[in-house]
Amino acid sequence: MTITENKPTSVIGTRLLRREDPPLLTGEAKFTNDLNIPGALHLTVLRSPYAHAKIKSIDVSAALKIAGVIAIYTGKDLQSSWASPMPCAWPVTPDMKNPAHYPLAIDKVNYVGDGVAAILATNEVASRDALDAIDVQYEPLKAVVDLEDSLSDKNIIHTELGTNKSYTWPLLVEETPGCVEEAFKKAKYKVKERYVQQRLIPMAMEPRAIVAVPQPFGGDITLYSSTQIPHILKVMTALTLGIPEQQVRVVAPSVGGGFGSKLDVYAEELLCMALSRKHNAPVRWVEERSENTQATIQGRGQIQHVELAADENGKITAVRVRIVGDMGAYLQLVTPGVPLLGAFLYAGVYDIPKAYDFECTSVFTNLTPTDAYRGAGRPEATYAIEMAMEALARAMKIDSFELRKRNYIKKEQFPYVAFSGLTYDSGDHLLAAEKAAKMTDLAGVRAQQKKQNVPGATKLLGLGMSSYFEMCGLAPSRVLASLNYSAGGWEAATVRVLPTNKVQVITGTSPHGQGHETSWAMIAAEKLGVAPEDVDVLHSDTAISALGLDTYGSRSLPVGGVAIALACDKVIEKAKTIAAHQLECATEDLQFANGTFSVKGSPDRALPLAAIAFGAFTAHNLPEGCEPNLEAQVSYDPPNFSWPFGTHMCVVEVDTETGAVEILKYIAVDDCGNQINPLIVEGQVHGGVVQGIAQALFEEAVYDEDGNLKSSNLAEYLVPAACDVPSITTGHTITPSPTNQLGVKGIGEAGTIGAAPTVISAIIDALSGLGVTTMAMPASPQTVWKTIQAATSGGKK
């Protein structure tokens, strides 16, 4: 099909204000902890203060005496509640090691925060007081905190596995056997870099909250949860608890952000459900912020070794990557797959031959489990290739933008079949990069830099960039099968035109801040010729939206939004047959525009959709074989991932006396194909960029050698606020995706994917005159200052 760039039509492409915002901004929106559920009991979880320890004994007698405490359960007490251990939906290799993980630890705790006992009380003060009154005797064991230490297997965490290694996953693509090693042997230039992706805490504004509400008879149970995945949760909790799936209903009320941290099946969800059935009463649990930092999954956690081989022109001839991934203490829902989501992307936006040698070994540590966090594997990959390109440019003594230009996949090469066999749908890397350069005033910045960065200057200017792309829009189900992922990648949509020409869209996506109600209403409105305010979007309740695979991986628009468009097509097709029947003509003679069917050439012979809808409802005059009502349901399996891309640039000023870094300018040029709502696209880019800047400069989950989290609250874990980041200037190019009728790609994670290397390369550029060639993340003032000292003759600690 030929997909053309969006021309502004009546709705799509406009900056429609989000309908989600008034309730959110006025406090009217109901989050899980706002739900008024009379008679709900409170659950509190007693958590291990040790990263690695045997549980010798648990004495709950004093806690049981506290007024309001109803019951206390240990891991042993609840064993019969589970039909299976907690699910991991991605066994990445047939021999992947996955230790049994239950909602409460039984004999041993494996991270600080591991649940040890569940306290049920009539109110949260009693359940909190009970925490202090439970006496647990632990036998502490040496904690495994460092990845290289874990790899050595000197101290094995899950002894039944015999190793700390969960899996080794290779991706070796060679034109001829041994050509990678050959390319490195004869390379004119090569670089070998080591990077560390620090652990990050997702810090959604709303901590997790759950209420499980059982029906008194019949076994039905409703789980209200601050989750990104109501549909997946329904299946998984039913399986794990061993209860019939049709008895489980999952509802996500307003959810205050997720970023991947709510893409999971959590111990507390299972505990609330099991205990609510046991006590025949609703059970609610709310996370405290400092609890969230340990009991909710963390992101990233990798050591990366990246090597590039290049010829005399700087054209890359081979890529070799070795990753050690940090799984944490247990495998949560997609934990093992996260490093692999980046596995195909370590050659970045560059045209390379079939000479790609990637291998990831992931290990367990006595730390909070990791899982998907905005970008999930792709920020890590982009950081590695982009920083390696910077290193290669330094080795060749050429400008890194020039080096990139020599390697970009060219516009004419799209759709581009990569070394991996994956097809990158569309792109124009040079165009986006040149736009970014123009918006940054590249020449002006370099001139200013020359003036400012003179010997003895204490404030140095630096320019950084990264060109990225990513694979999102999860995903073609057969590709997921080949990756051993346990679910599919389709999305479902029902579009229903009500008798009075109002439209219901039922989507399988589960928004938690992305503005799907606004965007899906825009798509349906455009297709059906109705006003967006006449479209109601229903979601996040499995009783209403029965089919879906929820929201993560920047999939909702390229999969869910396209499903809605396809369902609208089916509705129009059916409406056309009814119109043809009622207008007494052939369907081929009809056209549909502005919500009206009319006979081509005879515009007075017309019927508005409203009339068709009402007629489908009365069924007084429908064609033979045509069922009443006007609705259609689609389950859409995308034929490919979607591949948004872009170039980010930034200008920083480094105060060499203190190490402080200030971002003076940040330009993001992103291409997500056609934009449904540019306001929402910009919002996604802004938020994503801030999270990438946060990784570069501010955030890190800091653990001591005993596995204690030192940055466990918002005073110590530094989430930047609006005044801590620059004004972000966004631009875009539009390279429609040829794989769907809307020409759209995802955008939710792109900002995060592009930002960290942009900032770090700028700092290195500022300090290059002092001999600095590397910079660890986060580049705190102390880290920057110490790096400068080490590079210059200062050399003091």
Binding site: E124, P781, Q782
Partner: protein, 274 residues
């Protein structure tokens, strides 16, 4: 974030507050703006059995020109110190420091007396009032006494306040046109200082105090003495850490803190000498 159980009484005057705290002794704590105490209570790091709310004691919120000094009631909110014409005219260093406390919401609730009584070396106002040579007026069951700021801070969160005493007034000497500078080095705008410097300088006389460079706010007397003896600013700044004993934490090692202190003292004195 649920504190341990506590009782609560509201005082309507300084006298009533003192009589209440005499009754309950060390089981009781004063509650002013709450921005230091309530987070500690929610994390159960502090578990007072009785909170005596002095936030409505209206007669302790004032800023007066008392001739040689400014008299500031202990319950004056940071926002009022920040925006006061009198403070801007006679103690602009204090107004500037007050403007750096937390963020706008914090400054509308937090009080200067609460900040000083809490005696956190990482707070901005203890060091600033120390640099300015302030005197703190304290009231107890036996009456009032005055304590020089340089004698007030005893250790981490420890001051000369007895358990049955309440800070009622802060007396800040007028700056008489001295140059000044407040340097607060942090990573995020609303954070405590990693290292902070409050400094004034006039005709060879200087006062310099350090934020977050020890278990108490630090009066950098070596720096002030060097200036008085005619040393250059950079030579004086090199002595910044002489009285300090900085800790290492997530943001900064003690060595890096010492380095920052000399850089910031130098920058502060340069700005104060313009």
């Amino acid at each position: 974030m649920i504190p341990a159980a506590f009782d609560y009484k509201r005082a309507t005057s300084a006298a009533e507050a003192i009589s209440l705290v005499s009754q309950y002794g060390s089981d009781a704590k004063f509650l002013a703006g709450g921005h230091s105490l309530l987070p500690l209570m929610k994390l159960r790091l502090a578990q007072p059995a009785m909170l005596i709310d002095i936030g409505r004691v209206k007669d302790l919120s004032y800023i007066k020109d008392a001739g040689s000094h400014l008299a500031i009631g202990a319950l004056t909110r940071h926002m009022d110190v920040e925006t006061s014409k009198v403070v801007h005219e006679h103690a602009p260093l204090l107004a500037k420091a007050a403007s750096h406390v937390g963020d706008s919401q914090v400054r509308h609730r937090g009080t200067i007396g609460g900040s000083i009584a809490h005696a956190d070396p990482a707070s901005d106002l203890p060091a600033t009032t120390l640099a300015l040579g302030a005197t703190y007026v304290v009231q107890g069951p036996k009456g009032q006494r005055e304590i020089a700021a340089s004698n007030f801070y005893k250790g981490f969160l420890e001051s000369d306040l007895a358990a049955d005493e309440m800070l009622v007034e802060i007396r800040v000497p007028k700056m008489q046109g001295a140059g000044w500078s407040f340097q607060k080095f942090n990573r995020r705008a609303q954070d405590w200082a990693i290292v902070g410097v409050a400094a004034w300088h006039r005709k060879g006389e200087a006062g310099v105090a350090l934020v977050n460079m020890g278990s108490t706010p630090i009066l950098a007397t070596s720096v002030a003495n060097a200036i008085a003896k005619g040393a250059s600013i950079s030579d004086a700044a090199a002595l910044a850490s002489n009285e300090a004993d900085p800790q290492s934490d997530l943001n900064a090692s003690s060595d890096y803190r010492k380095h920052l202190a000399s850089v910031l003292v130098r920058r502060a004195l340069e700005a104060a000498s313009k």
